[in-house]
């Protein structure tokens, strides 16, 4: 019915192309992060991630062999060799070289440069160099040479190894990962049962004030949790919970409750009346109806809410900062750790990208495997 006669082919192409463009625009940001997390430090700063598959020009700092290898050739002292061989790197093509950190590409291959300490150096395209001086070279290290070389693409898992397993308190995500997991699972599981009972009462039990209660819950759906920070932190301190896992579990349970009840009530209210009334006639109590009939039938709604709550607690920053993370930072969660890294490691994209990807990998996995329930929950959860 959308295929209006005569316009089909051109319009369809336009649609395909626009959707492709939208998808690419939406995907590129995440793709950039993913690609960057697998690149080496040098590669990241040498070229944009979109050139990761191509050889890149990169500035390397190499050294000549130490003075002890010098030989005397008719009055001049000479050190010869290959720069890449000295550094133990794979040889590549050099497009320029320099002898000072300020001008790393001052000379073309084959040129001769005057060293400040005296002497001349010539570097060939393949990295072969010849260092000459009329006086003997002293010191115990070779001269520094900066080269601009074309380096092949280089992907590595070292970033993940470092971020996850190095145990570095500042850069490491291993502890924060466990901490996030510890926050998330109880905070997802505990609200479900509490909300399910309440939702059943609101959907299938007759009592005065029911409509008012539903309105109350809908009102609480939109109350900003910002209001709860100070009053509840004071309360937690007053009753001795303080900052810690127990506090953050309770807080997430409270903040997730309105959505849980609302979602589950909507779903339960839509279950067929016959089943429940037949069970009542057969003498089942409300408790039995709930545990034997309603809970199993409500599985899709329970799954929807569980996914929501999981994503929300896993991705949360504010609640964790206020109710969990104390001055020692022992219990820091991944989101907080990443914000810290943005401050201390703002330019170190190999660490930032990897840390961020570690934290978004789990939600992405949940998203792609359980998208069906997520969509269903969204459709049921938006107030109509």
């Amino acid at each position: 019915m959308d295929n209006i006669a005569g316009k089909k082919s051109s319009l369809t192409w336009a649609v395909h192309l626009s959707v492709a463009a939208l998808v690419i625009i939406w995907l590129i940001p995440t793709l950039g992060l993913l690609v960057s997390s697998f690149r080496t430090v040098e590669q990241i700063s040498a070229s944009g991630w979109w050139r990761a598959l191509f050889p890149a020009e990169q500035n390397l700092t190499l050294r000549t062999a130490p003075p002890e290898t010098q030989v005397q050739e008719g009055g001049v002292f000479v050190i010869e060799g290959n720069l890449f061989a000295v550094a133990g790197e794979t040889p590549t093509q050099i497009s320029a070289f320099g002898i000072s950190a300020r001008e790393v590409s001052a000379f073309a291959p084959g040129d001769t440069a005057e060293l400040r300490r005296g002497g001349q150096i010539t570097v060939a395209t393949n990295g072969d160099y010849r260092l000459t001086n009329t006086e003997a070279f002293d010191g115990d290290r070779g001269a520094r040479v900066f080269v601009t070389a074309t380096v092949p693409p280089d992907f590595t898992l070292d970033n993940y190894d470092y971020v996850l397993f190095s145990g570095d308190a500042r850069d490491g995500m291993g502890r924060a990962f466990l901490s996030t997991l510890t926050v998330t699972i109880p905070a997802t599981v505990i609200p479900i049962l509490i909300a399910a009972f309440a939702a059943y009462a609101l959907a299938w039990m007759e009592f005065p004030g029911r409509a008012l209660l539903i309105a109350f819950i809908v009102a609480l759906l939109v109350v900003p949790l910002q209001l709860a920070l100070i009053p509840l932190l004071s309360l937690h301190n007053a009753i001795g919970i303080g900052k810690g896992y127990l506090g953050v579990w309770l807080a997430h349970t409270g903040f997730g409750m309105p959505l849980a009840i609302y979602l589950l009530r909507n779903y339960m209210a839509g279950l067929p009346r016959d089943i429940i009334e037949n069970a009542r006639v057969d003498g089942a109590t409300d408790f039995q109806i709930f545990t034997r009939i309603i809970l199993p039938l409500s599985f899709p709604a329970l799954a929807s809410f569980a996914i929501f709550q999981f994503l929300w607690t896993w991705n949360d920053l504010l609640v964790a900062m206020v109710f969990l993370i104390d001055a020692t930072g022992e219990t820091t969660v991944m989101t907080r750790q990443i914000v810290e890294l943005l401050g201390t490691r703002g330019g170190n994209w190999e660490i930032l990208a990897t840390a961020a990807f570690v934290s978004i990998a789990v939600p992405l996995l949940v998203f792609f495997t359980m998208q069906r329930y997520l969509v269903r929950g969204l459709l049921a959860g938006s107030v109509k």
Binding site: L27, P29, T30, M205, L220, M257, L311, V322, L342
Partner: protein, 332 residues
């Protein structure tokens, strides 16, 4: 004891405790308080059934009142008192002090910008994506990919977009995509997040990127719910695709558009993580929730912080009232 282990115990205790509570409360109600036997059996069953809903509701209501209803009242009280003066009542002094701070007005201005731009852009893009993807064979894959940022945390998204906005000194190769494009087109690389006023929009793009998928999913379901006869009738009458979309489809899904719009508006009013992680309110990007966080936890000024929280509360109140009225109308 390792916290993960502690977590497992908490799950067991929490779930076990809930089950035990519901089971034993029911038992107590039916066996001990109002047994369904003896001379008063009938009356007892009725009484038990009057109390049972409240047994089922009690834990949820307790948590709701403690974690959401009580804080509203308590925050209002805190915003009217001075903590340093022993919680003395100070009237509107905190609000006056807040109104005298330029940072507060900057936050208000930026929040208004966010409120105008983000819901409109997300809904419009979502509607476009929904309409386009519904018409092609691989639409579901496309939807899934556009929807994906929904699973990414605001902090993760902040890192993703900081990489796009990254800037290097002029002579170096730009590794941020935006600056690479700008320099390739002959422009100069910019530190996008530090350009006052416009940087707000670079932050908003992050939220639009996340929320478009949400709008698309809901609007796509609404579009598919439109009765086909209305569209066929329009085609017979000779309406073109654009005309059908704007005159037939959009009016029919108007209620859903409002829902999407208000949902994103609520999110925008509370927006915190993106600003906190990307600029922390510097370079004139302050927003209300971050201003409040600054006051509460950096300046330790509970009075002004609570006053800022009350401003957010007042701003969500119209949506709150509208939602409640919608639900009450539906239930009638």
């Amino acid at each position: 004891m390792h916290p993960a282990f502690q977590g497992l115990i908490t799950i067991a205790l929490g779930v076990g405790g809930c089950v035990a509570y519901f089971y034993f409360a029911n038992q107590a109600l039916d066996r001990v308080l109002f047994p369904a036997r003896g001379p008063n059996a009938g009356r007892n069953i009725n009484r038990a059934n009057m109390i049972r809903p409240w047994v089922f509701l009690f834990p949820a209501l307790f948590v709701l009142c403690l974690y959401l209803a009580y804080p509203v009242v308590e925050t209002l009280r805190l915003s009217l008192t001075d903590r340093d003066a022993g919680d003395a009542f100070v009237g509107l002094a905190n609000y006056q002090q807040m109104a005298s701070e330029p940072k507060f007005w900057e936050a208000i201005r930026n929040n208004i910008l966010w409120l105008i731009v983000v819901p409109a852009a997300s809904t419009a893009l979502g509607l476009l994506a929904a309409q386009l993807t519904d018409r092609i064979a691989w639409g579901n894959i496309a939807k899934s990919l556009i929807f994906m940022p929904m699973a990414i945390s605001f902090v993760g998204a902040a890192v993703i977009w900081r990489l796009i906005y990254d800037v290097r000194p002029d002579e170096a190769d730009q590794i941020g995509l935006l600056n690479a494009i700008v320099t390739a087109l002959g422009g100069d690389a910019q530190a996008w997040l530090t350009i006052p006023f416009w940087n707000n929009f670079f932050l908003m793009i992050v939220l639009i990127w996340i929320q478009t998928g949400f709008a698309m999913v809901i609007l796509s379901a609404a579009l598919r719910g439109i009765p086909e006869e209305t569209i066929e009738a329009a085609i017979v009458d000779g309406a073109g695709p654009l005309r059908i979309f704007f005159s037939i489809k959009v009016p029919q899904i108007y209620p859903t558009i409002i829902v999407v719009w208000t949902t994103i508006t609520l999110l925008v009013l509370k927006i915190f993580d993106i600003v906190f992680a990307m600029t922390n309110g510097q370079w004139e990007t302050q927003v209300l929730a971050n201003y409040m966080y600054d006051k509460l936890f950096r300046a330790n000024d509970w009075g002004v912080g609570s006053a800022a929280a009350m401003v957010i509360m007042v701003l969500v109140t119209p949506i709150l009232i509208w939602n409640v009225r919608q639900v009450r109308r539906e239930m009638r």
